[in-house]
Structures are given as C-alpha cells and as structure tokens.
Amino acid sequence: MQPCLQAVHISKVFPGVKALTDISIDFYPGEVHALMGENGAGKSTLIKILSGVYTPSEGEVLFNGEKLEFKGPRDALDHGISVIHQELSIAKDLTVAENIFLGEEKVNGIFLDNRSMIERTNELLKYMKMDEIIHANDLARDLTAAQQQMVEIARVINKNAKVVIMDEPTSSLSDHEINALFEQIRVLRSKNVAIVYISHRLKEIFEICDRATVLRDGCFVRTDKISEISEHDLVASMVGREIQDYFIHTEHTRGEEMLRVEGLTRKGEFENVSFTAYRGEILGISGLVGAGRTETMETIFGARIPDSGQVFVSGQAVHFSSPKDAIAKKIGMVTEDRRTTGLMLRAMVKDNSVLPSLIYHMKKLGFADDKWIDEVSNEYKDKLRVKTPSVETIIANLSGGNQQKVVLAKWLIAESQILILDEPTRGIDVNAKSEFYALMNNFVDQGGTIIMVSSELPEVLGVSDRIIVMCEGHVTGELSREEATETKIMQLASTVTKRGE
C-alpha cells in the first residue's frame, strides 16, 4: 500500500531548543495511526509541521509521493489535511453552521448562501446521528465541549479530508462521548481517510488504532502494528527507562495537620470537597480533565471565592479574599499554565523569582531592595540548579524545565510552607521532571506540605504519599500509596456520584 502522507527526515529547531530530530513516519489511508510520547516529546511540533503551521528546519513532507511546500494552514487544508486541535478550534461567537463552513463558505453570487449551508449542516448532523442534540443555528458558545468537538468532526467530514490529525481529542470527553467519537473515527477510516491520533490513554490506543509510533525527546523511537506490540513495551519505549527508577520517592514522616478543607463548594465547579494535608507529605490529587481540581485549588489559594465551605491552615479557620491573603499564610501555588499565569515571560529570572516576596523586603518609602533581590535570586538559582547564563536573563529564553524551577524558587523565596502544584511537570522533558521530583522531595523532607494535581497517572502513583481522586467536582475516594493502582484511580475518576435531584 502507498502511504498518503509521509514525514521524511524532519528536524525542527526553535531558538535554544531542538524540538525534533530526523523524524520519518509514513501514514497510510484507511489506518488510524497513533502518535505517542510524553509531554515534550515533540508530537505537537510534528503535527504543526504536517498541517502547515510550522515549516520544518530540515526534511520534507510528502503527500501521495509529492513534496509539499506549505506557506500556511490554507495550503494544508487545500490538500485535504485537517487538524482537530487539542484546544478546541471553534469560534464561539459563530453558529454551528457558520463554524462548519468557516473558511469554505458557500456563496450565491457575492452573498453567502446561508440556506444551503444550513441544509448541508443538517445533513451532516443527521449522518452523525447528532441532529437531536446539536442544531445548525446553535451558537457554539452554548454547546458543551463534547458537542463542540462533534462540530469540528462535522467540519472535517464536510471537507472530504484525506488526512485527519486529532490532537488528544478525548481529553475533555466522557466515556459515552468517547464512544460516539470512535464511531465517527471508524466511519472516517472506512472511507479510506488516514487518521493521525494523538493520545496519552493506552486503552484508547489499543481500542481504535492500527499502528503506533513512539517519539521521545524529539526523536523517533519505533513504529509498530498495534497487534504486534504489548502495552508494557509501548510505555517502556515512551519513558525510555524502567518506570520504577524514574520517580524518586523517599519515605517522608508525616507531621501535624497543615491544611484542612471542609465542604468547599462553588456551584457548577465543585461540591462539598473535604480533605486534609499534613506536614511532610505529598498529597496527590488525581482525576480526569474537568473534574474540578484546578478550580478547587484556585479557591483554596484565594483566586476564587467559595460559595460555601471552610479552609483551615494549621487548624485555624481562614478566609482568603485574594491570593495575597493566602501568600501571607505561607501558601504558594504553581499554576497549571506556566506561560500565562506562572511567569512574567518577558521579565528577568530575578524579577520572577522575587515577585510574591517583594512587599516583604521593601526599603524605606517603598523602594525595592535590589541588593537582596540579587542575592536571593542567585542563591536559589544555585540551590535549584537553574540552567541560565545569569539571573538577569529574560525568562522566556529558558527551557520549560528551568522555567518551572524558577516558579518553584519564587515560592521557596516566599517561604511557603504549603505548596499547591497544578500539573507541575507539564511540558517539561524527562530529565527535568526527575530533577523537579527531587526538589519536591527535598521540600517535604524539610517539613513542607505539597498538594499536587496531576493528570498523569504514573506521576501521581510515583510521587504521592497519599492520593485523593476527584470526579465531576466531587471527591470520590482516597488511596494510600500502598493500595493505589492505575485501575483503582481510573475507577474512582470515572465514578459519577449521584447528585440530589
């Protein structure tokens, strides 16, 4: 069989980072091809090259054996290559029909042919058996994430795409919705479409895919037929070493209660969340995306105001009306999205390091204490082994792992006793990860408390002393390090608690 899309010796260099090194992969029509690898393995960069968003530094993309020169997404679309992006790529102010035809509107003379676009949309929705849930004139804003995704798939079907790239399409879907998605994928496959499927979920890969390619640290590792590879081999080649020695876990001694949450509720986000975190432990918070974990943590940190419930720090009831209050109580939070909420990207390393502590180290008349800033930022740069030419480097120029170390340094300088880490190792490479885990262990050994939200099961299992699982805004279970397994967590993470009708 002739591959319809080929990546040939592709490399991609960004300033300071080599994201991809000599990648060659063939994609065949009528096959679902899984692209696997840890965060930062280069999957996203590769699909951006295949879809014309980036141009490769070296190598080429072949379509039916012909070399493609992309100047932008338009060229890829014209060749029948469509992407369903990880972040939903749907314009929320437009209707379903308008979104499906975005960029390919039908016209009648110079005017939009709304009637035939709506007709075609209705046909598509009917074909997908979605016509009772989604309507052509619904505003995209009013649809659920899953329904929006269905609109994107309708768009792809409408385009008669030859290649469909799906970047973690199930990350915001429930089981039921995933089944609906798989049905659509099977339809596409039967129409001889080549599908590139990116997911972290092994179960899905084995259910829907025909072939799998593993990338690691921007390099090609292997391509196998799914029927000829075991789950264990696949994971091992993604991680690159045995999982056991990947997470460094040291025994901690649990001390007194540090943070207690009782019945915390924010309508529509999470309900009646209660748990306790102790001195000298790493408390893992697991669950699927959309379980309300981030919202809960932001509420504890004072970034959101709870509707009801109570937070106690060291046994004392507290009411935070802004993160400023939480910081004063020695709580720090490493947010989920480093680039937008964790760092001032265009500022220097040292200014990022001292931001929350500045007001506690002012000189007379509110002048900043520059000497202290230089000293303390250099001290922590060395302590955490941040790889940067100097503390005066603009932080955007550091690698993801080193940026994350600066975020951590920020809270250590602020003398935080309780650290909330939200997906702390997202998008950083394997070595930086294990360094980061060592720093976490160190912090806990010295009497700190860590609450870590993570969607990566191996991470939660490998690092936590105790694990709490959330599902749809509720705490559905608690597991000790000894009793926790992937299966148990997944069960709890998909336990839908009955809500009072």
């Binding site: 679309l77 992006h85 929320k92 308008e98 975005l102 960029g103 390919e104 509107e105 110079i110 005017f111």
Partner: protein, 336 residues
C-alpha cells in the same frame, strides 16, 4: 420541575431584555423627552432635524463596528474625517460653477482617497507590524490632524460653491407647500451607505471572516482565513466611512474646518457599543449600532430642546459611554 421552567423563562426574558436594552432605552428616552418638552420633540421638523443630526455619527459608527468586531479600535476617525472635509472643500474651490450632481464626485472621490490612505496605514501597522490598534490609530489621530492644518493653511476653507452643500444641506421632494423639500439628502445618502455596510458585514464571506477573526483569531487562521488581510480591510473600511462622514459634515457646514469633528470618535464608539457590539470583539452588527446612534442623537436633541447647557451634555454623554461599556461587560458575564 415547573419551577425550573419558570426560572428558565425568567432567564430568557432577562436575556432578551439585556440583548435589546438599547431599544428599551431608546423608547424610554423618546417618551421621556416627549413629555419633558411637552410634545415639541415630536414636531415633524424636529424629527427630520434629528435624522440629519444622526447622519454623521451613523457613518462613523458603521465603520467602527467593523474594527470593534475585529477586537480592535480606531480613535483616528475624527481627524481622518476632518482631513477629508478639508481636502474636499479645497477641491470644490476649483469648480466654482459646478452643478448639484457634480458635487457628488467632489465629495466622494477625496473621501475615498483619504479613507483608503489613512485606513491602509492603520491596517498595515496593526495587521503586519502588530502595533496595538489604540497606539497605531492614536498616531494617525495626531498626524491626520496635522495634515488638516497644513492643507487648509491653518484657517477654515470657505467660499465653497453653493452646489457643494447639495448633499449635506439640500432636501428632496420639493412640493408647493414646502419649497425647501421634505427629506434631507444627507439622510438618504447615509441610509444607502449604512445599508451597504450592513449587508457587507452580514451577508458576505468577508463579513463572516470579520466575525471569525474577531471571535478568535487563531481559530480563523487555522481555518485557512488570511486574518491579516481581514484586519487590514476592516481598517480601510472604517477610515473610508469616517472620511465620508467628514465630507458630509463639510458639505453640511459649507466649509472645511481643520479642527472639525472634535470628539466625534467618542460618540461613535459609544453608539457602537450601546448597539451591542462587544468591545472584546466577535459580535455586533451595523444595523444594531444604528439604535445606539439614535440614543445619542435623541439625548443631544432632547437636551437641546430642554435648554440643557452644552457643557453638561458632554458630561451626560461621558456617563453614557461608561454605562454602555458596563452593560457590555455584564453581558459577557452572563454568557460565561
């Protein structure tokens, strides 16, 4: 269950009112001023007068709707308008004997020229060089005003031919009882322009792409839309509309004032936002902006009839702008 239904009904009712707040306000104002001026407001002459007062702001708002939907802003419209007025009056001095109909190209050609030049500059800076819209148009605001004084030699261009005022001050439908005519030409001209701009935005591919780009530029880009071009042409349209407003103003006053149209951009932004165009982009319409234009015109007109000090009128308009923005933000909140 039934309680839910009632709640839903209340919610949709509230949504409907929120969405059409501008219509509610307009009706309330008309009734209020009607009573406040003991009916003088409803005088036919006043209503006709009101439409001419709306005309220039309507032109400006129609153009601004495009850039605001795109998620940007254009504060340079007032000096672009003044510049077009100065150049068009200068041009008219070369044709002292021109006929009424010949005045139309004398108005429109300079307007398009000035609009395309200024708009291209704004559009280029914003779409290609990624200059923030506020700053790029602030630069144009100052530069175009400077050009006004350079071209006019620092004083008003006066002594324009009588025909120059045909569109701005003339009237159509002359009857025996009404030798000056019934319907202001400026009103007809502006209605035609606004309808064209409304259709362009709501019925064509370009218009659809304006919405998509303003709603989420990344999404539009990934759908293969050339968002840079969309932003560029949005700004060109806005400036052309502003320049047309400027020549209409000059035609109405029969003179080219280098300092004309001061503060007009604020009225236009206020009208656009009052008409439901979101300052964060993605939604709005030219047609609805006209309700905003009407609200502002009615307030000014009503306050004039009630002899409110013109300085206080400015204070009231300022408050209305703030009110419109708060309304916009509140709507955002209910959406999310």
């Amino acid at each position: 269950m039934s309680e839910n239904l009632i709640n839903n009904k209340n919610a949709t009712m509230k949504n409907f009112l929120m969405k059409n707040m501008v219509v509610v306000i307009l009706i309330a104002l008309i009734i209020g001023f009607g009573v406040g001026t003991s009916g003088k407001f409803f005088n036919m002459a006043n209503i006709v007068n009101l439409t001419t007062q709306m005309a220039i702001n309507a032109m400006l708002s129609a153009g601004l709707t495009y850039v605001i939907i795109l998620g940007g802003i254009d504060i340079s419209v007032r000096s672009v308008a003044a510049l077009a007025g100065v150049i068009s009056t200068k041009l008219s001095l070369m044709f002292p004997q021109m006929s009424n109909w010949a005045s139309i190209p004398v108005l429109i050609i300079p307007a398009i020229l000035v609009g395309v030049l200024c708009g291209s500059f704004n559009g280029l800076m914003i779409s290609r060089f990624n200059v923030v819209a506020m700053i790029a148009t602030l630069a144009m605001l100052t530069a175009a005003r400077g050009l006004c004084f350079i071209f006019s030699g620092g004083t008003a261009v006066s002594g324009v031919p009588k025909a120059y005022s045909f569109i701005g001050a003339g009237r159509w439908l002359v009857t025996e009882g009404k030798p000056t005519g019934w319907i202001p030409n400026i009103t007809i001209f502006v209605i035609i322009m606004v309808v064209i701009m409304h259709i362009l935005l709501s019925k064509t591919i370009f218009g659809r792409h304006v919405y998509a780009t303003g709603s989420n530029r990344q999404v539009a880009h990934l759908a293969g839309i050339n968002t840079k071009n969309v932003i560029f042409w949005g700004h060109v349209l806005c400036s052309v509309a502003a320049a047309l407003a400027g020549v209409l103003n000059a035609s109405k006053l029969a003179s080219g004032q280098p300092a004309a149209c001061e503060g007009y951009e604020m009225y236009a932004i206020a009208a656009t936002v009052l008409g439901g165009t979101s300052l964060t982009g993605g939604s709005g319409s030219v047609g609805r902006a006209m309700f905003g234009v009407a609200v502002i015109a009615v307030i000014n007109n009503g306050m004039n009839l009630m002899h409110v000090n013109s300085y206080w009128q400015k204070v009231v308009i300022g408050a209305i702008i703030l009110f419109a923005v708060i309304l916009d933000m509140a709507q955002k909140k209910t959406k999310n």
